[in-house]
């Protein structure tokens, strides 16, 4: 699949935004319920604003890949069947829930009332639902074997939580003056879970499976009587001398060497370097480390999303000569 840059930006940025707001709500509600701690209004406004900017920039970026954006408002029409529609509806529902929470907490000077609690929990649930919908858009597509996997959706949720945790850690370092050990431990555990999940995902897409050029063309199956399982089918002529919408969209080939290199780069940028930076930053109490980790992690996440597209092979490729996907 051709990587659509605006979609990469969208899922990484709004994923991080929802992750940040999730952790902020989790920590504020958790601290209030456990210790009766009131909410730090600087964190509430600063974090809330940062999260909303990330979410909104991402959502706006997603409309850039639409060929006819003037009809984008119609995307809320098919909530019952389309995951893309669900993503849009949940994304829209998040704003009133979260803003209600912010307003209620702010107007009570940091005390969380029952109403604020309900709004906060609702915002948390909706944020997770947006991430699940994003993952399901890809996971529900049967023609793309590498996307139609049980781990696709968990990975979208985990990456959102991981990048959000990193930003929340930096935000907390700014409001408290130092990097919190508890938060950095939480981040490291989350990063480890995400890494293992992504590793298992790569293992699950390793071998070609499913439709072949034989099932795609219905040709070559008669050869079973002759002892061979299936006859060879080869493309002689694609029928066009220039590129088509189909070859542009689905014919993308990055080359195995480049993909392997980028996978290594992704492990380093998304996990190893940010994790080491956070550990060192927490040890030496250097807040700048958290921001450096965020920047590197974003580059890693963009690489991860790029690979997610570049490694996906749509079955339409079988009609253009691929033997399997």
């Amino acid at each position: 699949m051709k990587p659509a840059f605006s979609v990469l930006i969208f899922t990484v940025t709004s994923g991080a935004g929802y992750g940040l707001l999730l952790w902020m709500l989790f920590s504020q509600l958790g601290l209030y319920l456990s210790y009766g701690e009131t909410v730090d209004l600087h964190e509430l406004i600063g974090g809330g604003l940062l999260g909303l900017v990330l979410v909104t920039v991402g959502l706006l970026s997603s409309t850039l890949h639409l060929a006819n954006p003037k009809n984008a408002w119609r995307a809320f029409n098919r909530f019952r069947t389309s995951w893309l529609s669900r993503e849009g509806v949940f994304a829209l529902m998040f704003y009133p829930a979260f803003l209600t929470y912010v307003y209620l907490v702010w107007s009570q000077n940091g005390t969380i009332t029952t109403a604020a609690m309900v709004a906060g929990l609702l915002a948390m649930i909706i944020a997770v639902l947006v991430n699940i919908s994003t993952g399901m858009i890809y996971a529900s597509l049967k023609p793309i074997r590498q996307w139609h996997k049980p781990l696709t959706t968990p990975i979208y949720v985990l990456f959102s939580l991981m990048s959000g945790a990193l930003i929340y850690l930096a935000l907390n370092a700014v409001t408290h003056g130092h990097i919190s050990y508890d938060l950095s431990h939480g981040y490291l555990i989350l990063a480890a879970i995400t890494l293992i999940t992504k590793w298992r995902y790569f293992a699950s897409i390793g071998k070609p499976a499913g439709a072949t050029i034989n099932t795609a063309t219905s040709l070559g199956n008669e050869d079973k009587q002759a002892g061979k399982s299936q006859a060879a089918v080869r493309l002689l002529d694609a029928g066009h001398s220039a590129e088509t919408f189909l070859t542009n969209e689905f014919g993308y080939d990055a080359g195995a060497m480049k993909l392997m290199k980028l996978r290594k780069m992704m492990w380093l940028l998304a996990f190893v370097i940010p994790a080491i930076t956070v550990v060192l930053g927490a040890h030496f109490q250097f807040n700048g480390a958290a921001f450096f980790a965020i920047a590197i992690c974003f580059a890693g996440l963009l690489t991860e999303r790029w690979l997610f597209f570049a490694e996906a092979r749509h079955v339409v490729r079988l009609y253009h000569g691929d033997q399997e996907t």
């Binding site: 890949h65 009587q225 089918v233």
Partner: protein, 241 residues
């Protein structure tokens, strides 16, 4: 009604007339135009609802002799019973008609997100780069019900134009229709049935060539060991080289 096409892979000659006729009719039809970008330039690209690809199939006859074929395979929308392109559409632009099963796109509602093209395993949907909306085969819905046309012409443009009658249009729900009969007689197959989209269109497999009688090299060798007959030896001597 379940309208669809039968394509005969045995008789299709890969002339691309169906694709051309399709483009000619539909560029001014209900979903038209089918835009082209840089049509006379180095890298032309355009919207087509029908594409023809040619394959080489390396088969063998039941007797084990080589029976390779060149098979031309025209493909348009399969009008799937379980059309995922319709399910994934967020705007409701894509829909499947209850009365005849034709899958259509409301050009006024499409936002050009490409998700339906991703969901389609057959490459039946192409984004019109100029208009920014998705285009697909309509089974010439603006021909087949047109009372102004003579009855014989109320068929998709690709079917009417096919010089070898390799394309047949009809109702798969009617067991007596030409498409249903052909599918039964010739063992018509769906493409990629394992994906579970239940495509309506059927492809008739190319007929297998019968074995051509051949002379066995071993038999000849045994016959030659006995040597030529006396008469032949005498004749050979007589005719000097």
């Amino acid at each position: 009604m379940k309208l669809g096409l039968v394509v005969d892979l045995d008789t299709c000659v890969g002339c691309h007339a169906c694709a051309t006729a399709c483009k000619q009719w539909n560029t001014s039809g209900t979903i038209g135009p089918l835009s082209d970008t840089a049509p006379y330039d180095k890298d032309p690209i355009g919207t087509w609802l029908n594409r023809i690809r040619s394959y080489e199939v390396e088969e063998r006859t039941p007797a084990g002799n080589a029976s390779s074929k060149t098979v031309h395979m025209p493909m348009s929308c399969m009008q799937c019973d379980d059309a995922a392109c319709v399910t994934v559409c967020p705007t409701g632009a894509s829909y499947k008609r209850e009365e005849d099963g034709i899958v259509l796109i409301d050009q006024d509602k499409c936002m050009g997100c490409n998700l339906c093209a991703w969901a389609c395993p057959y490459g039946a949907r192409e984004l019109d780069l100029d208009q920014g909306v998705m285009k697909k085969c309509t089974l010439c819905v603006d021909r087949i019900y047109d009372q102004e046309l003579p009855e014989a012409e109320r068929q998709p443009a690709c079917v009417l134009t096919c010089p070898t009658s390799s394309r047949v249009f009809g109702d798969f729900d009617d067991p007596d229709s030409a498409v249903s009969k052909l599918t039964v007689e010739r063992g018509g197959k769906p493409l990629m049935p394992e994906l579970g989209y239940n495509p309506v269109n059927r492809y008739l497999p190319p007929r297998n060539n019968s074995d051509v009688p051949t002379i066995s090299a071993e038999k000849d060798a045994v016959a030659n060991q006995a040597g030529p007959s006396k008469l032949k030896q005498w004749a050979n001597k007589l005719i000097a080289r």
